[in-house]
C-alpha cells in the first residue's frame, strides 16, 4: 500500500549530505525505520528527514534543493 510522507518542516530539501555525495536514498531502495531520507535546511541549520516507517521508495515529489513547505508531499513508500 502506497503512503505519502510529508515534509516535517519548511525549508530546502536535499537528497544527499553534500553536493557531489551519493543520494541518501534512491527510487526503488528499501527504507528501514530510522534511515535518513534527506535533509531540510531551515535558516541555515540542517535537520535530517528520518523514516518513521519502513517500505520501498517509489516516488519523490520534490527534487534535490527544492523549496518545501511543512506538510508538502516529500516521497512515497510502498509498505
Amino acid at each position: 500500500m502506497a503512503k505519502t510522507i510529508q515534509a516535517p518542516l519548511p525549508g530546502t530539501f536535499y537528497r544527499s549530505a553534500a553536493p557531489g555525495e551519493p543520494a541518501f536514498k534512491s527510487l526503488g531502495d528499501v527504507v528501514a525505520v530510522g534511515d535518513t531520507i534527506g535533509l531540510i535546511e531551515v535558516m541555515k541549520s540542517f535537520t535530517p528527514v528520518i523514516a518513521e516507517e519502513a517500505g520501498t521508495l517509489t516516488a519523490f515529489h520534490v527534487e534535490n534543493e527544492d523549496a518545501v513547505m511543512a506538510g508538502q508531499p516529500l516521497y512515497d513508500l510502498d509498505a
Binding site: T12, V42, S45, E65, A67
Partner: protein
C-alpha cells in the same frame, strides 16, 4: 560617478536600512527579490523590484550573473551588497564594475587582499598593527617548537597546518605540556589531514572580541571608535555594544589609530571593520581580520557617533571625499544592540520561521528597531534567522542596559518564538551588567543553567 538608482543586492533588514538611506539622499532603489521574497518589507518600500531567481540563495542572492543582470535590466547605476551574500565577493564587485555599475563598497582588489587572512596579516604587520604572536609557518620539530613557544609566550595553540574550521587544535600551557602534545598533535594531523605540519600561535583564553569601524575614501580614513561583540553563540554575535567599556582611554586610542593606519595603507574605500582579540588581563590587542562591508552591528556605532554609515558609504561610492575629519567624530554615551532572531532559545535555538500574527515595536527616547517585520508577514525558512535589531542608546552603559530592558519589555512578536527572552535574561545577568565577558562566556552560561526568563524588569533604575 553619478548615482541615481541603487540596486539592493540583499534582503531583510539591511535592505530596508539601505533603501531608507538612499531615499534620504534622493535616490531611487530597486530591490532584488527571490521568488520567496516578493512580499518582504524591502520589496514594499523600494521604488521597484528586480527578480533574481528561486528561493534558494545560491540560485538567487548568491548568483552573481543573475544579480548583475537584474541590476542592469532595471536601469540601476549602482549596487549595494549589504552584508553576507555577495558583499565580500571580489569577483562580484569586479563584475559589477565591469558592467559599468558602481559597487558601493571597497575596490575589488581590496576585498581580495583583505579576504586572504595571510595577506591581511602581512598588511597589518606592515602597518604596525599587532597580530596574534605565532610562528612564521610550520615548525620543524619539538626543539624548535620549544624555543618558538618561549618567544611567543604560553599558553600556545598548536595548530595543524592542514587543519581548518577549528579542527586540529590543541593548547599547551607550558613546556612540559608542549613536549607531550606536540608529537601527538603531529601524528593526529598526519592521520587526519595527511600532513603532520604544525604551527604555533599564542592562545588567548579569555579574549574579548573588539572591532573598530572605519570609513575611507580610498586615500584618507577615519575611525568611528570600537564595538565589543564578545557575547557570541556558535561564533554568531548575539549582543553588541559601543564603545567597549573595558578599554582605557589610552588603549582605545592605540586600537583605533592602528585601524586607521591599516585602512589607509590598503587605500580603503567605504565602510569597513577591523576585528581584534583583546586580552584584558594584559591589555594587549591583536588584529585578526577585516570585514570589507557594512556589518549587522553598525547601528551601535551610528548611535554613539551620530554618523549615518550607510549614507556615508553611498556618498563615498559616488566619488565624494570623506566628509568627516577625525576631530568631528565624538563618542557620546553607550549603545547596545540585541539581535532578535527567529529561534527558540527554550529549545536549543531551533530555527522558527512562521507568520507574524501581531507586532508591537518598541519606541521612545534612545530606542531604535531595525527590522524586516510587519504584522502578517511570513518569515521564510530559506534565509538566516535575523528578524530585527533592537538598539538602545543612553548616557552610559548601565543606563543603556536599563533602556534596552525597557524596550524589550515593549517588544511583542506573536506567531513565532524569538530570542527576545534571551536578551531579557542577559540584561538581568550580573556578569553582563558588570561587563566581565569574553567570547566563550555566553555558551558557558547557556550550558550551565536553563534559560531563566524574567517576567518583569529586574534592574533597578539608576538614580
Amino acid at each position: 560617478m553619478g548615482i541615481s538608482t541603487i540596486f539592493i543586492a540583499n534582503r531583510g533588514e539591511i535592505a530596508v536600512r539601505i533603501i531608507r538611506a538612499a531615499r534620504e539622499l534622493g535616490l531611487r532603489t530597486v530591490q532584488a527579490v527571490s521568488v520567496a521574497d516578493g512580499d518582504m518589507l524591502a520589496a514594499r518600500l523600494a521604488d521597484a523590484v528586480g527578480p533574481v531567481g528561486p528561493a534558494h540563495a545560491t540560485k538567487s542572492y548568491l548568483n552573481k550573473e543573475a544579480v548583475v543582470r537584474a541590476a542592469l535590466e532595471t536601469g540601476c547605476d549602482a549596487v549595494h551588497p549589504g552584508y553576507g551574500f555577495l558583499s565580500e565577493n571580489a569577483d562580484f564587485a569586479q563584475m559589477v564594475e565591469e558592467s559599468g555599475l558602481v559597487f558601493i563598497g571597497p575596490k575589488p582588489e581590496t576585498i581580495r587582499q583583505m579576504g586572504d587572512k595571510a595577506r591581511a596579516r602581512q598588511e597589518a604587520q606592515a602597518a604596525g598593527v599587532p597580530t596574534v604572536p605565532g610562528t612564521d609557518g610550520v615548525v620543524a620539530d619539538l626543539e624548535t617548537a620549544k624555543s618558538e613557544a618561549a618567544r611567543i609566550g604560553y599558553p600556545v595553540m598548536i595548530k595543524a597546518a592542514a587543519g581548518g574550521g577549528g579542527r586540529g587544535i590543541r593548547v599547551a600551557r607550558d613546556e612540559a605540556e608542549l613536549s607531550v602534545e606536540f608529537p601527538q598533535a603531529s601524528g593526529e594531523a598526519r592521520a587526519a589531514f595527511g600532513d603532520g605540519g604544525l604551527y604555533l600561535e599564542r592562545f588567548i583564553g579569555r579574549a574579548r572580541h573588539i572591532e573598530v569601524q572605519v570609513l575611507g575614501d580610498g586615500e584618507r580614513a577615519v575611525h568611528l571608535f570600537e564595538r565589543e561583540c564578545s557575547l557570541q553563540r556558535r561564533r554568531q554575535k548575539v549582543w553588541e555594544e559601543a564603545p567597549a567599556a573595558c578599554l582605557t582611554r589610552e588603549q582605545r586610542a592605540a586600537l583605533c589609530s592602528s585601524a586607521v593606519r591599516l585602512a589607509e595603507r590598503v587605500g580603503y574605500r567605504g565602510a569597513g571593520t577591523l576585528e581584534y582579540l583583546f586580552d584584558d588581563t594584559t591589555g594587549e590587542f591583536f588584529f585578526i581580520e577585516m570585514n570589507t562591508r557594512i556589518q549587522v552591528e553598525h547601528p551601535v556605532t551610528e548611535m554613539v557617533t551620530g554618523v549615518d554609515l550607510v549614507r556615508a558609504m553611498i556618498r563615498i561610492a559616488r566619488g565624494e571625499p570623506l566628509a568627516l575629519s577625525q576631530e568631528d567624530i565624538v563618542l557620546k554615551g553607550h549603545a547596545i544592540e540585541a539581535r532578535i532572531c527567529a529561534e527558540d532559545p527554550a529549545a536549543d535555538f531551533r530555527p522558527s520561521p512562521g507568520t507574524v500574527s501581531a507586532l508591537a515595536v518598541p519606541g521612545g527616547f534612545g530606542v531604535r528597531f531595525d527590522t524586516l517585520l510587519y504584522a502578517g508577514y511570513t518569515v521564510p525558512p530559506f534565509y538566516d534567522s535575523l528578524l530585527g535589531k533592537l538598539i538602545a542608546h543612553d548616557e552610559n552603559r548601565t543606563a543603556a542596559i536599563v533602556r534596552l530592558d525597557r524596550a524589550l519589555g515593549e517588544l511583542t512578536i506573536e506567531g513565532l518564538p524569538t530570542t527576545a527572552p534571551l536578551h531579557r535574561a542577559l540584561a538581568a545577568n550580573q556578569a553582563v551588567q558588570a561587563g566581565t565577558l569574553h567570547t566563550r562566556w555566553l555558551e558557558e552560561w547557556l550550558s550551565s543553567a536553563p534559560l531563566a526568563v524574567p517576567a518583569s524588569p529586574i534592574i533597578a533604575t539608576p538614580a
